[in-house]
């Protein structure tokens, strides 16, 4: 089957949109422990979720501004690194968002089977 260039771009755009939707949940889920940006990217990548670095880092800052993450600079390693971790609000939101995701995922499974 031939997929022409335009379709490929559409596919890329739409999958990017899909992934953008789950990015917050994916990031929050890995930040129960404190991690720095690049480590988070690697962790997600190892589990099969490749995320554009240019999208993740600004997102972490926004989540921090929204009070879902807390961050601190750690200076004791090879270089200064900014570590992010869930705040109390972030933990609560992660639980709710996870339930929400389960529902969406179940519904979508049903819809796509139908």
């Amino acid at each position: 089957m031939m997929i022409d260039k335009e379709q490929l771009t559409n596919l890329e755009k739409l999958s990017q949109e899909l992934r953008r939707g789950i990015l917050v949940l994916a990031a929050l889920s890995q930040l129960k422990e404190s991690r720095y940006g690049y480590a988070l990217i690697e962790l997600l990548s190892q589990q099969g979720l490749d995320i554009d670095q240019g999208t993740l880092y600004p997102l972490l800052r926004r989540l921090e501004e929204q009070g879902l993450l807390e961050s601190e600079w750690k200076l004791e390693e090879a270089r200064p690194r900014r570590y992010y971790q869930l705040s109390e609000n972030g933990r609560k939101l992660l639980r709710e968002l996870t339930q929400e995701w389960q529902k969406i995922s179940d519904v979508m499974d049903q819809i796509l089977k139908g």
């Binding site: 720095y36 940006g37 690194r81």
Partner: protein
Amino acid sequence: MDLIERYIYAIGKHLPSNKKADIQSELRSILSDNVETRFGANPSEEQVVTLLKEFGAPESVAASYWPEGQYLIGPRLYPLFRFSAGVALTVFAIVQLVLLGVAVMFNQEALPGIDFIGNLFSSLMVAFGIIVLVFAVLQHFDVRPSLDEKEWNPRDLTAVEPSTEIKRGEIIAGLVFELIFTAILIALPSQLNAVLYPGSEGFVLNPPLQAYIPWIIISLLLGIGLDVILLWRGRWETGTRFAKIAVDVIGLGLLILMITSHTQWLADHGVNDFLSAFSGLEAGAPSPETVQILVVNGFRIGLIVAAIVTIIELGKQVFDLVRQVWQPVSIKISK
């Protein structure tokens, strides 16, 4: 590593100033982690170039730290900006025209030339520039006006008004009249009087009207331009309503000036009230001067009627505009 520093410096130029240093430090740390993990302690320039290309152009990386994008006046402020600019510029233009009218009527100043329109235009541009500047400062400090969504009730929505549709027949009829009148005024300004009152070479039927002919033409051309735009758009919009108000204000100012000068001319010829204009008709064929007085008086009555009609129309336009523009705006400023 020099490339990375240059890259971070380039990104820094486009970052929000209050977060710049912190974001730059984080990017430096992230890029170093990337380089070290992928290429080891001594990466080649080629490898760093590859990495930076993956990261993206400095402007787009910086842009991702502006969640709402970078604007001189952003989408949150724009509706308030459009509203404020519209109101301020209309009020400004009306005030200028009223001041001009007062100066001409009470201080006996001459009717200004075409350069007045140029000056009005440039002062409007300056006013517009100042409004843009104020909003750019608000944007810079991220002041957020928010429409009060909690109190929004679908039941309060205004009915869809058929009156925003233009009445095509009316506009076309007006346009035809304006075109014919303009053509007459452009083609026959000096001959008109002789044509209407043959046999008297150089006789001017309506002296006080003469000085205003170029201004009447300008006012008509403005009206024609607006009618053409209305026919093209097919409906009344905020912009065309403002334009219509401006055209009506100009027309009204001109009418008032002409009424004043007709009255002055009649007073100079001994006519101080309506009936005395007819006193010359009592015996035999009317003299040219009697005809002149009757014509000027007739014109004055016509001009007064036109001024009253214009005032009513202006009131209606302002009312419609207020209904269209003012109503949906309920704004709170929050930071």
